[in-house]
């Protein structure tokens, strides 16, 4: 029988429910920990049921931060993360759309050469060229700025490839019809190609936003001014800065706040996210 039998299904559900529980567990623990007063963490085992201090803890991290350890209030860091993520996302999408358009819809000298230059960025993640990239950004005076946080990360071979692939599937006749209808290249791009790419743009938006929000090493290096701290790197400062043992209730409140925006983006745009992910890499 190819159909599923009952015991098999029962077993599968069992495995999945256990699996989901394990996958969720760390975040559950974090949420629980963020609702307890500081005293809970001094002795014994971490709590597994919510405590009474939720409001107070979140208020503390959002408005005060931990000034003693040099971490600013979370509010500002959340904003910085948002600005950085949006700048990276919009930047990546714009320049990738334009380059993919050039590569697919034009024939010109050195086309392959440019394609390879873009392709090279795939091979050079920021982590492997970290010192010289830092030097370039420092030389350009872009330390402690949003430009420094975002621009060096906006070149994207992945997005360019995805758009290129998508443009190749757009029927030839649409462009021909547009030409017969009197549309030049940029008009075709704006009136036809962009509206057609909207699902792909949205799907990539989700992935790029998460990529941008989750940047860690880069902001860690180029921001020394707490004004520009982003939330993900800020957590590390909270964990290691100051006291010998981290203030777990505040750290976990921060963790929850830092993880929430990208998780919400994924949950609300799940279908687009899945599409974006599996089609980018396919």
């Amino acid at each position: 029988m190819v159909e599923n039998n009952r015991w098999g299904n029962f077993f599968a559900h069992l495995v999945l429910i256990l699996g989901v529980a394990i996958v969720i567990f760390p975040v559950y623990v974090a949420i629980v920990a963020s609702t307890h007063p500081p005293g809970t963490f001094i002795r014994g085992v971490m709590p597994l049921l919510p405590g009474p201090n939720a409001l107070e803890n979140y208020k503390t991290v959002i408005t005060e931060g931990r000034s003693r350890a040099g971490t600013p209030p979370i509010g500002g860091m959340l904003w910085n993360s948002f600005v950085m993520a949006m700048a990276i996302t919009i930047g990546k999408l714009s320049i990738s759309l334009l380059s993919a358009f050039a590569i697919v819809y034009f024939r010109f000298p050195f086309r392959i050469f440019f394609f390879w230059i873009i392709f090279l960025t795939l091979m050079l993640p920021v982590e492997v060229r970290i010192v010289p990239t830092f030097q370039v950004v420092a030389d350009l005076g872009m330390l402690n700025s949003f430009a420094g946080l975002s621009i060096p990360l906006i070149a994207s071979a992945t997005a360019t490839f995805l758009f290129r692939q998508f443009f190749m599937t757009v029927p030839e006749e649409l462009m021909e019809a547009a030409r017969v209808d009197g549309a030049g290249p940029m008009k075709f791009f704006k009136d036809i190609l962009l509206p057609l790419s909207i699902t792909n743009i949205a799907a990539l938006f989700v992935i790029m936003f998460i990529y941008g929000w989750n940047q860690y090493l880069w902001p860690l290096l180029i921001t020394t001014d707490p004004e520009y701290y982003t939330i993900v790197m800020g957590i590390q400062r909270m964990v290691t800065g100051g006291d010998s043992e981290p203030l777990w209730h505040l750290v976990m409140a921060t963790v929850v706040l830092a993880a929430l925006p990208p998780i919400l983006v994924i949950l609300f745009m799940q279908r687009l996210f899945v599409k974006g992910l599996t089609e980018t890499e396919k």
Binding site: A177, R179, V180, D191, I192, I198
Partner: protein, 350 residues
């Protein structure tokens, strides 16, 4: 409205690949010309050259009195209906029709008038607010037609517009397109691979093969007097039977073939020109064994094996005869229904 003149038109792609050679066609004002041929014969390339979607590498193209070789498609005053319709999927039907007019800077009220008028003519008025994907194949086809109509161009170019429709709808749209074209009197160039579509729609049709014109003429001219073996085989279904003349000379009395040039290697006989029964006066007598009888309602197709000939011969009768498969049957062919061809040149003799 305008005439279109194709003067020694040719197309050579990069890498010296030749697609179209020496094409001369004078399309009269208001005429419907159908380009027909097997896939890869260059008919679409030729149409796209006229549209301005492919560059012209040889010869001159005139629309009206203007040489348009180097004009952009939008400047040639033509409208095109694409095979897959090429409707803008994200725009409503209304905007699909209006887009080209907007790009030309035509005033809003005028656009509105033309769109409404075209929609009326094509009975797509109630779909103007819909997106193309909400329409059926036939409706999309009408929208594609509408997009060409609103432009009020000098010429319509059709690139296999019916090939994505099912058989029934194809016949219906064929009639509609032809009626509309006759009513508007717009010069049209129509590409198809379907010889029946070509025969039924064309004022004149152009048979292309290997990038060259095989023959130009009215449907009846091409049907009754194909100038080449290729045209003879391509136009008409079932295809014309080609009998080696050596074989025929061995079968029938010499005087029956007296007027056929001695040089002829093949003699073509259309399936419907072979009558079942005793030989009539002055006609050619042939006999063969019935392999298969295909009744098709009003008519029937008989597949025959002639003694000493490898190819089967097909006969079309306007009725279903009462004959048994395996039996020997006699046919007669009027002498004026013989089409003599030369093997070497593929051309008709006499």
């Amino acid at each position: 409205m305008a005439s279109i003149t194709l003067d020694n038109l040719g197309k050579v792609y990069a890498g010296n690949v030749r697609a179209v050679t020496d094409v001369n066609i004078d399309i009269k004002d208001g005429e419907m010309i159908v380009l027909v041929g097997p896939s890869g014969c260059g008919k679409s390339t030729l149409l796209r050259m006229v549209a301005g979607l492919e560059t012209i590498t040889e010869g001159t193209l005139k629309i009206g009195d203007r040489v348009v070789n180097h004009l952009e498609p939008a400047e040639r005053d033509i409208a095109m209906v694409f095979q897959n319709y090429a409707l803008y999927p994200h725009m409503t039907v209304y905007n699909n029709l209006a887009y080209g007019l907007k790009n030309r800077g035509i005033a809003k009220p005028e656009i509105d008038r033309r769109v409404k008028e075209a929609a009326e003519m094509l009975q797509i008025g109630q779909f103007l607010d819909r997106k193309p994907r909400q329409l059926s194949g036939g409706q999309r086809q009408r929208v594609a037609m509408g997009r060409a109509l609103v432009r009020e161009p000098a010429a319509f170019l059709f690139d296999e517009p019916l090939s994505n429709l099912d058989a029934k709808l194809r016949v219906q749209m064929r009639v509609e397109i032809r009626q509309l074209q006759k009513r508007l009197g717009t010069t049209s160039l129509y590409v198809t691979h379907d010889q029946l579509e070509a025969l039924t729609m064309a004022d004149r049709l152009v048979v292309l093969n290997g990038g060259r014109i095989e023959q130009i003429g009215t449907p009846m001219e091409l049907y009754s007097r194909p100038e080449t073996v290729f045209v003879a085989g391509f136009i008409g279904s079932p295809a014309m039977n080609m009998l080696p003349s050596d074989y025929l000379r061995g079968q029938v009395a010499a005087e029956a073939l007296a007027h056929v040039p001695a040089k002829a290697d093949f003699i073509g006989i259309r399936p419907e020109d072979m009558a079942l029964g005793p030989v009539q006066e002055g006609a050619l007598a042939l006999s063969g064994r019935l392999l298969l009888l295909e009744p098709a309602g009003a008519e029937s197709h008989l597949h025959l094996r002639f003694e000493g000939m490898s190819d089967t011969v097909v006969v079309r009768l306007p009725h279903v005869p009462d004959v048994a498969e395996g039996s020997m049957l006699n046919f007669s062919v009027p002498r004026d229904k013989l089409h003599p061809f030369d093997r070497e040149s593929g051309k008709r003799l006499a």
